[in-house]
């Protein structure tokens, strides 16, 4: 969340416009946003959620805090390192240090997630396999990114950046973030819509396509090392994305229709907006790959800001409230009257903020597609206002500010969810 606000602030401060995305400072900001905000929140969510998927406690949970610190350092180092391309030689060592720290952190997280997930019973579930494919995407993201950093710093290991860049973006947005979001969303959507959880043929097909796409992109990585052209592979990836996205949306629509909750809550109505952005960015993908330029930037923006961020922000408010409630009120159930989860949030505050976010994401996408400078700056302002509002609401939820004073416990929980650092089980005595 801090990285989100920081990256938006910097984007406004440095005067980034629709045409400026090749500038080193723009690259630094994009990585602050994609790694510092989206990747960290997604990995944190996976660490939190994988025990629920696998119905067993998180393995190697002590690695969580070191992984968080290393990846934060790696992100800052990488973002700083990009500035060395602009001639700030002092930032140069950081440029190489960034990928090293990030790789270390990703490896720790992969160990935690995989050793929790991989058991005989869970591997059959398509959503579990989806998360495993997403980790392969993360590996691809890192490899392609590290290869480009190595090229830009002038080391012996060099690749063709024009070939590596589309692959890197597809790994990050599609192979890692979108696959992970899809895998987690099935369970979340079923829970919040009160819909039956049983898997469908669409879900298996989405997994099969995701695995195929990851395979194609990995092949692309090998070809990159052999200096081949990845263009034919990208056409395949494009087709698979369109088909996979259609199947995924159809599966979510099925869940939506089977829901037992007549009026969906705020988090789910905002998630629908996010799904619309997913469709938009995938529809733009063929143009992005063939034409590049403005439409490519619009597609990336729609995916990162419209799809992944809207989904995360909407669910984050709901989940923070839920986990805070569990942490504080679960021990009191049956012993005294406990408030309902909804009383921890204030929909009048979160609702408008999420609406501003979604509208700004739409304006931003449109401005990038048309090269409209003022529109893009306006969108950035809107995103910053919305993000600040949501951050305040999250703090309010953690502080139980919306509860009437008699319902508040004597001692408040720490502001940062400790469950992000320690899973719920290990917060007790050590043996």
């Amino acid at each position: 969340m801090m990285a989100l606000v920081l990256s938006l602030l910097l984007a406004l401060a440095t005067g980034i416009g629709p045409e400026d995305f090749d500038r080193p400072e723009a690259l630094a900001i994009v990585h602050l946003f994609a790694l510092g905000w989206l990747a960290q929140v997604m990995l944190g969510a996976l660490v939190q959620f994988v025990p629920v998927l696998a119905a067993r406690p998180l393995a190697f949970s002590r690695l969580a805090l070191p992984a968080l610190l290393t990846s934060s350092f790696g992100t800052l180092a990488l973002a700083g390192g990009f500035l060395s391309l602009d001639g700030y030689d002092i930032a140069r060592p950081f440029f190489l240090l960034g990928p090293v720290a990030l790789g270390l952190s990703f490896a720790m997280l992969a160990v935690m997630i995989l050793s929790t997930l991989i058991t005989r019973q869970t591997l059959r579930l398509p959503e579990v396999r989806m998360v495993i494919v997403a980790l392969a995407g993360l590996a691809g993201l890192w490899l392609s990114g590290a290869a480009m950093v190595s090229t830009l710093t002038g080391s012996r290991l060099a690749v063709d950046i024009s070939q590596a860049l589309p692959l890197h973006m597809l790994f990050g947005i599609g192979g890692f973030l979108t696959f992970a979001a899809c895998g987690v969303s099935y369970k979340l959507f079923a829970m919040f819509l009160l819909a039956p959880e049983a898997a469908s043929w669409q879900r298996r097909a989405v997994f099969a396509l995701a695995a195929l796409m990851a395979g194609l992109m990995m092949t692309g990585l090998v070809m990159l090392a052999g200096a081949g052209s990845v263009a034919p592979l990208l056409i395949g990836v494009c087709g698979i994305s369109l088909a996979g996205c259609a199947l995924y949306l159809d599966d979510v629509r099925r869940l939506w229709r089977a829901r037992r909750r007549p009026t969906p809550e705020l988090n789910m109505s905002c998630s629908r907006v996010a799904l619309a952005f997913l469709a938009l960015s995938v529809l733009l993908l063929p143009f992005a790959i063939w034409q590049g330029g403005a439409l490519a930037r619009a597609s990336v923006f729609a995916a990162l800001v419209g799809w992944l961020s809207t989904l995360t922000l909407a669910q984050m408010i709901r989940i923070t409230a839920f986990l805070t409630w569990i942490q504080i009120f679960a021990p009191l159930i049956g012993r005294r009257k406990v408030p309902v989860v909804q009383s921890l949030t204030h929909p009048r505050r979160a609702g408008p903020a999420l609406t501003i976010w979604s509208l700004s994401a739409g304006i931003g996408t449109l401005s990038l597609a048309t090269g409209f400078h003022a529109g893009f700056r306006l969108a950035l302002c809107g995103l910053l206002i919305a993000a600040t509002q949501i951050l305040c609401e999250l703090v309010a939820i953690r502080c139980l500010s919306h509860l009437a004073p008699p319902e508040r416990p004597a001692r408040l929980p720490p502001l940062i969810l400790p469950s992000l650092m320690n899973p719920p089980h290990s917060a007790e005595n050590q043996i």
């Binding site: 067993r56 917060a427 043996i431």
Partner: protein
């Protein structure tokens, strides 16, 4: 069944001497016969050990006894519990529990409402009485809370995967 009785290890004396019981626990694990479970007695809930044991292929079931001692049973996966299809963490002796005195239909309720209902009802039951609940999904956040309060549980998904069946046996009253 020909499964040997659980091997019991009381780590309280070791902890009282200010020593680490981890080595003794691992030695006890290594000396288990095939299929044999380990019953651990500790003055607190040894949560970090659950990960270690899960990685070594053991399911665990924990409860706080009336005297405040935590009794944790580690059962090798693929023996006993898995045969009767109960979820990991289920109490091993659930097959011998009395018939439920209360049945709760909790389908279609929004989390955490099922958890609230179960905890409210179980608190009102006499020690040893059993309640049965039918839910949409596995109540992940309920299990640590039940263990903390000294209640035992056993549960699994119904054959069609559409609902989760849960039995809870009330422990000692805590207030």
């Amino acid at each position: 069944m020909t499964t040997p009785p659980p091997h019991e290890l009381d780590v309280r004396p070791i902890l009282a001497q200010g020593e680490e019981p981890f080595g003794a626990i691992m030695a006890a694990i290594d000396s288990l016969q095939p299929g044999q479970a380990l019953r651990l007695l500790a003055p607190f809930r040894p949560a970090p050990l659950f990960n270690v044991m899960a990685n070594r292929g053991f399911d665990c079931a924990d409860r706080r006894r009336d005297d405040g001692v935590w009794e944790v049973t580690f059962t090798p996966q693929g023996s006993g519990l898995a045969d009767v299809g109960m979820a990991p963490g289920s109490a091993p002796g659930a097959g011998f529990w009395p018939d439920p005195v209360l049945e709760l239909e909790l389908i279609g309720l929004e989390p955490p409402e099922p958890m609230v209902r179960i905890l409210e009802e179980i608190t009102a039951l006499e020690p040893g009485q059993v309640l049965f609940a039918l839910l949409d999904r596995e109540p992940m956040f309920l299990f640590p809370e039940l263990a903390q309060r000294g209640h035992e549980w056993a549960g699994n998904y119904a054959g069609d995967g559409q609902s989760y069946r849960l039995m809870v046996r009330a422990g000692a009253k805590d207030d």
